[in-house]
């Protein structure tokens, strides 16, 4: 009985750790949507590119891990900004669905590019760390690091958005885009910075994921939909909602996977999502 409880506790703890990571991932997506009103369908693919960047720099070019990760964040940030400038900006004035589809096209493109460059074999960073043992629970070290880094990322973003001029401008533009020029702010520049920030958050997420999981061109399809669901669950564009939803969702996955097969954990989480959609489609913290 005691062992049963401990493993359940372990599942709960793992759920919390996973929740932190998902919170970071959802933050970037919510930021982009809340400010620019665009959904990056290829968000997970950007993360995938970040993961490959870290992998290549570290294992093939021998960069120190931290340097490779910093580069990973930079690359995805640049990719996000470039995507906004060349792909999204031309359709910003068109129907919202066009923006969705254009990022859908990017999804294919990025997957294909990764396949062409790296092939379809699973790659792994090969970083091994001894698990952290707390009492009778065994927690994976990368997961704890990821959680800490994710929280740091969220905190840094919050500070940026509330304590800096550009951060305040980012929040302002999501409330009233039309009068931004009257403040002397070029809306295009704010969107570009926001895109870079969203990309940077995705890049940070990539660094954390690459510590724990294998890399494959199509992995975006595995965690991408989860991130979307979490954002919708929390209220699309609502960063706080995304955080809340992340932890709830992660618990469903972790504890559900504990009682049943791990895949069913996902199914339960998704079913929970559909149930919430039935009750409150605008999301838990969404505005009506």
């Amino acid at each position: 009985m005691e062992i049963f409880d401990i493993f359940l506790l372990e599942a709960v703890v793992n759920g919390i750790l996973l929740g932190g990571l998902l919170a970071l991932l959802s933050l970037g997506l919510n930021l982009i949507f809340g400010v620019i009103d665009v959904v990056w369908i290829c968000y997970a693919e950007l993360i995938m590119i970040g993961m490959y960047t870290v992998f290549v720099l570290h294992t093939q070019y021998g960069w120190p891990l931290v340097a490779a990760m910093a580069a990973g964040v930079g690359v995805v940030a640049a990719l996000g900004a470039a995507m906004h400038q060349f792909v999204i900006r031309p359709v910003l004035a068109a129907e919202p669905i066009n923006q969705l589809l254009v990022t859908g096209g990017m999804l294919f493109l990025l997957q294909a590019a990764a396949t062409l460059a790296f092939g379809i074999d699973f790659r792994n960073l090969g970083v091994r760390m001894t698990p952290i043992v707390v009492g009778e629970m065994s927690i994976s070290a990368p997961r704890v690091i990821a959680f800490a880094a994710a929280l740091a990322g969220v905190a840094a973003t919050w500070l940026l958005l509330t304590r800096t001029y550009i951060g305040t401008a980012i929040r302002a533009i999501s409330q009233d885009r039309a009068i931004m020029p009257l403040m002397g702010v070029n809306p295009d520049r704010v969107f570009l910075v926001t895109s870079a920030l969203g990309g940077a958050l995705a890049g940070l997420g990539a660094c954390l994921l690459v510590l724990q999981y294998d890399i494959h061109p199509a992995i975006g399809l595995t965690f991408g939909p989860i991130v979307f669901l979490i954002c919708v669950l929390g209220g699309l564009g609502n960063m706080l909602g995304g955080l809340v939803a992340s932890f709830i969702f992660a618990q469903f996955i972790s504890v559900g996977g504990f009682f049943l097969h791990i895949e069913w954990g996902y199914v339960i989480a998704f079913a929970f999502f559909i149930a919430v959609m039935f009750w409150r489609p605008q999301g838990i913290l969404g505005a009506r």
């Binding site: 001029y165 305040t168 401008a169 929040r171 302002a172 409330q175 009233d176 039309a178 009068i179 931004m180 020029p181 009257l182 403040m183 002397g184 702010v185 070029n186 809306p187």
Partner: protein, 232 residues
């Protein structure tokens, strides 16, 4: 300071202004009055480049504004307080003021002190979301936000709109005080009586054209305004 000559502007196929010419000299307070739909808001938006003029020229202290992108107008010393206040509702009062100082960050602290000196009520509410303020307080905040950039020319779009009569009085008293502080003001208003007591000169705008202009007192006395408003 500000010279508008033969300005035409509109929205898509709808033209709102037809060859408008006016000027505002340094230190002056000038009003543009006219009935609903005359094009007053369009005029201010054309000056601050929120919309592009289709013809005519706008110059500020000799520099042409026509080719300037909208977000550079504030750098030329023109600050626009838009119609309906347009505060950022979920930013606090102080964050709104910070946005006003976006183009002049170095002077933020001193300008903030000046703004709070002018509007002590805003200082009381500095951490409140701007959307929760009363109409009059919002107008004060909007004007303060515009002043944060240290403008030479202040464009005010119907500052008294939608406010209770008592509050309207205080708004116009405020405008008078701003003029006294040395700001040049171009104010667009429907409330003719009150605004003509505050400004030096005024233009009468009717369906996109300047009907007449002159010293405030003269215009107030003539019957032109009543005729214009009543459609005679």
């Amino acid at each position: 300071m500000l010279a508008v000559s033969n300005l035409s502007a509109g929205y898509g196929s709808f033209q709102a202004l037809f060859g408008v010419t006016l000027e505002v000299r340094a230190g002056e307070a000038v009003a543009v009055i006219g009935p609903n739909g005359a094009g007053k808001t369009t005029l201010l938006r054309a000056i601050s480049k929120l919309i592009e003029a289709s013809a005519g020229e706008i110059t500020m202290e000799g520099t042409r504004l026509n080719e300037l992108p909208a977000h550079e107008v504030i750098g030329r010393g023109i600050a626009h307080v838009p119609e309906n206040r347009r505060l950022f509702p979920r930013l606090t009062v102080e964050e709104n003021l910070r946005m006003g100082a976006f183009s002049a960050r170095r002077k933020f602290a001193e300008r903030l002190r000046f703004a709070y000196g002018l509007f002590p009520r805003l200082e009381e509410r500095r951490d409140q979301p701007a959307g929760t303020l009363s109409g009059g307080e919002q107008q004060m905040c909007a004007i303060a936000r515009a002043l944060m950039s240290g403008p030479k020319l202040l464009l005010l779009d119907e500052p008294s709109a939608g406010l209770a009569p008592v509050v309207v009085q205080s708004i116009f008293a405020l405008v008078k005080r701003i003029c006294a502080e040395g700001y040049t003001v171009l104010i667009v208003e429907q409330n003719v009586q009150q605004v003509l007591k505050v400004v030096d000169r005024a233009y009468l705008l009717e369906t996109g054209r300047i009907r007449s202009s002159g010293a405030a007192a003269t215009l107030a006395a003539s019957g032109e305004i009543q005729r214009s408003y009543l459609g005679l």
